[in-house]
């Protein structure tokens, strides 16, 4: 399922999901009911910026300041996948 994540929306982690650093594996992980998602660095950075305040465009801008190769599409597709799994919630406007 593909859920559109508009660039004006403000994503945040769902309340039952936890973003944490796993020292044993040296990776960020996303924990939810009966699930573990191991994140790459970009994924962890995107989620670290999802606080329900920043819009998707602001997150993209912020990341472009850190690396020089972040495209809107990449961020939006990543978030859309997590919205479909209900790990991320978005509020509009």
């Amino acid at each position: 399922m593909d859920t559109a994540v508009p660039s004006s929306s403000r994503p945040e982690l769902a309340p039952h999901v936890r973003l944490t650093f796993d020292r044993a594996r040296d990776r960020h992980v996303l924990l939810g009911p009966e699930s573990v998602a191991i994140l790459n660095r970009t994924g962890a950075d995107i989620l670290g910026l999802c606080n329900g305040q920043r819009t998707v465009s602001e997150i993209v801008q912020e990341l472009q300041g850190r690396y020089n190769r972040v495209v809107d599409d990449e961020v939006q597709q990543f978030l859309a996948r997590l919205v479909a799994k209900r790990y991320v919630e978005i509020s509009h406007g």
Partner: protein, 363 residues
Amino acid sequence: MDRPFGLLAELTYRCPLSCAYCSNPLNLADYGDELTTAEWQRVLAEAQELGVLQLHLSGGEPLQRRDVVEIVNSANELGLYTNLITSALGLSRRRAEQLRAAGLDHVQISIQANEPAVSDRIAGTPSFERKIEAARMVKELGWPLTVNVVLHRHNIDRVADMLRLAEELKADRIELANTQYYGWAWRNRAALLPSKAQLERAEAAVRAARVRLQGRMDVIYVLPDYYSQYPKPCMGGWGKRQLTVVPNGDVLPCPAAHALPLPRASVREDSLAWIWTESALFQRFRGTDWMPDPCRSCSRREIDFGGCRCQAFQLTGDAARTDPVCHLSPDHGIVAKTVQAANEGTRPTEGVLIPRRYRGHAR
């Protein structure tokens, strides 16, 4: 070597229900000498160190342990994601609030059917109304809720209704898992195994619900492996992703492995890290080197890992054989015959179930 993601902590085998499909071992009295609070706390710390991220608190009924709040609190301090797998009997509002404050992340409540009389009959005790009340309270307290249903011949025709009930309870997930034939369930296999027609109806109901509930509720459906072409990838591989600690501190690669003729491993004698990496028990079926043919040369050997060792043992007496569920197994006839018998017109839909009564000594 892989690190484990999940620890299934079977805190006690004491249970107020007497389900005929119980997969706990037959000789429950052997597990009465339960780990203490301090021992569990040590196990959790060792598990976290080893890489465990998810803790599944189960049993029996984990709420029968008076120290469950303390255990959850310790797990939460270690950063583990905590799941409580419960019948809901013993989940009073006060206890629920304490668990919430201790940081419990997720609650899974079992129901046996969508109607009080049927659910209570299968559970062997009046429990349905309390389960429903507890499920509502779980949502009210802000937890994610999973409704767990073990499916079998007596309730599988109610799948559509159980999905509607879970939806009405605003569950986030429902797990519809067909019975696995271990422990007590093995005794009741003939009365539990559904027919092919029943399964087809259930699967149609699941497909329809997935469309209707998309984005609102996850519908997890676990196939009955007797009807599958290939075996289940049991535990995602032996000693690969999960481990189980049972009430007396024995450690198992899979919760059904009590019965296998393998050397024991116990947290009362060794560290969890040593047991995971070094013990003969965890090494025995790790990887693919142990495999006989047809698994050894099969392109699916890293997909289903030869299936379930416990089932191979249960059906053939040899845990190192290919799971007879696989249509390529030389022993597949055993499963085929059982399935055929479940589909004969003479087999009643609701044969007699032998309930399990907990008769271990109370601690």
